[in-house]
């Protein structure tokens, strides 16, 4: 069976106008994602994990290498790769249901069809009763639920999530982790999820891709042994194996951060 997403020898460099230097953000990234899989990407800050996601989304062009989705090379943004952003990105002049139905509107889906899809996703993310609210009337957590529903409603092949929980308070973040896990099973979609939180990466992912310090490379890919259905807070913390893996990922990233610090110190 072909991979859902294949990243092959991806290199990204860009020109920094302020320092007048060419910066290598990602060097030679390769990994694959299976259909229906939940893969999380974690790494030290500045390792280029968000850049990697926007390359897959087609919002930027790679300097070398290629990205295949269902065997087709990515050349720009498209409806097959939905994205959830850290900054929510839902439109303030659209109500909750207008935001959720936006992708379908773009695809010129009929009003009746749209309404039934909207109703389904409103229910999935638990926003019944808020359909006609504007985003400013919602909390951060609710806004991000709208963004998730909007992305899923457009029926993408893969869902890219760029630190979607980073702008939320700690309590909401934990609740939404469980929600995303549940939604991922319910919607049966392929998810690529970028985070800087080890806890989040290990809790959500079927596999965790650890990126090295800048310039980013795939350092290690860790498989999480428990299934997504089994993971719950707080019982997950009683799982010895889970805690060991978390510790391993944490150490792996910490090592990168320390080495990055040494490099910087030597330069200085």
């Amino acid at each position: 069976m072909p991979y859902k997403i294949s990243v092959r020898g991806l290199v990204h460099q860009y020109y920094n106008r302020h320092t007048k230097e060419t910066v290598l953000a990602l060097k030679d990234i390769s990994f694959d994602v299976n259909a229906g899989e939940f893969v999380t990407i974690v790494g030290p800050s500045g390792c280029g994990k968000s850049t990697l996601l926007s390359l897959i989304a087609g919002l930027r062009k790679p300097s070398a290498g290629e990205i295949l989705v269902d065997g087709v090379a990515v050349s720009g943004p498209g409806v097959d790769r939905g994205m959830v952003f850290q900054e929510f990105a839902i439109l303030p002049w659209r109500t909750v249901q207008q935001n959720i139905g936006h992708g379908l509107e773009i695809q010129k889906v009929s009003k009746e069809k749209r309404d039934s899809v909207i109703a389904r996703y409103v229910e999935m993310v638990g926003l019944q009763g808020f359909e006609n609210k504007y985003p400013y009337e919602l909390s951060g957590g609710m806004k991000q639920r709208v963004a998730v529903a909007r992305t899923l409603a457009a029926n993408p092949k893969v869902v890219l999530m760029d630190e979607p929980l980073a702008a939320l308070d700690a309590q909401t973040r934990v609740t939404l982790r469980e929600e995303i896990l549940r939604i991922s099973l319910e919607a049966a979609c392929t998810i690529l999820f970028v985070t800087h939180s080890v806890d989040e990466a290990v809790f959500l992912g079927d596999r965790v891709v650890i990126l090295s310090r800048h310039p980013g490379e795939v350092k290690e890919i860790v498989t999480i042994p428990s299934s997504r259905e089994e993971r719950r807070y707080p019982s997950i913390h009683e799982n010895q194996r889970f805690e060991e893996i978390k510790h391993h990922v944490f150490q792996s990233i910490r090592q990168e951060v320390e080495m990055a610090d040494e490099t910087t110190m030597r330069v200085e």
Binding site: M83, F85, A89, I106, Y134
Partner: protein
């Protein structure tokens, strides 16, 4: 100790930062209070300086003057002229200004080409063009309308550009990842996203245009509120000058209240883009 406890249990007094949601009397006070102060200031100064009616007429005599010009039919005619001119000029400048602003806001080449020129001409006050407009178009409405349009244009253009440029990038990216085309981004994101700035640009522009209207009416002598003031000065009708000035403010406030504010209310406030 008991005193502290008592103080702590006392109901804290609500702090009101805005007059919103307060009683009718309070709202009346906030609506009328500032004007009442200005009226008292004017009347107080008149008495203090022992000013005679031909230098500083009483506000009441100005109101009487309004009644007189209203009764003899000059006023409705002049108000109609002024409003007609600002409406025509406003429509022209808003259409051109918003279109130019969108083009420049979206397109870096257009910005590089036209922005310096627009900035240059913005520095030339509309009234500086009046002599040339007079030579080109003569003593008629075209000259007045052009001079208003000129002043109205710049705030509209600059605010539209800012509006387009400050639409968060992530809004665009979001729509692109929903499968949106360039058209979806422009009409679904950039234009509604720029709307708050466009509307404040129009509001500011109409205010500038209104001033240009009064100034050019004074100079051209083709009727209108500006002309009424100018003519009154020549005839030593100080109360009528004051009446004209009051009317300029009142007409402006009415326009703002009846047209521009509801426009803002209907869109950006409902979306929560401007804090209530």
């Amino acid at each position: 100790m008991a005193a502290t406890l008592e103080a702590a249990s006392a109901k804290p007094k609500a702090i009101k930062l805005t007059p919103d949601g307060s009683s009718l009397w309070e709202r009346l006070f906030f609506a009328v209070g500032p004007y009442l102060f200005l009226i008292l200031l004017w009347e107080g100064l008149r008495r203090l300086l022992h000013a005679d009616a031909s230098t500083m007429p009483s506000l009441w005599s100005a109101v009487e003057a309004i009644g007189r010009v209203a009764a003899n039919g000059i006023l409705p005619d002049y108000i109609f002229h002024s409003l007609e001119r600002i409406t025509v000029a406003g429509s022209i400048s808003v259409v051109i200004g918003v279109s130019v602003g969108i083009t420049i806001g979206l397109n870096a080449t257009a910005a590089a080409l036209f922005l310096p020129v627009i900035r240059y001409f913005n520095s030339l006050a509309g009234i500086a063009w009046l002599p040339l407009f007079l030579i080109w178009f003569g003593f008629n409405d075209k000259t007045i309308i052009l001079s208003i349009s000129y002043n109205l244009f710049f705030p509209v253009v600059f605010n539209t550009i800012i509006g387009i440029r400050t639409v968060p990038k992530v809004f665009r990216q979001g729509v692109l990842t929903l499968g949106g085309s360039w058209r979806d981004v422009v009409f679904g994101v950039m234009l509604p996203g720029a709307l708050p700035n466009v509307i404040s640009g129009i509001r500011l522009g109409v205010a500038y245009g209104w001033r240009a209207l009064i100034a050019s009416e004074m100079l051209l002598g083709l009727g209108g509120i500006g002309y009424m003031i100018f003519k009154a000065q020549a005839n030593d009708l100080t109360d009528r000058i004051l009446a004209g000035m009051l009317l300029i403010g009142i007409l402006w406030s009415l326009m703002d209240y009846l047209i521009l504010q509801p426009l803002e209310e209907a869109t950006i406030r409902r979306w929560g883009l401007v804090r209530r």
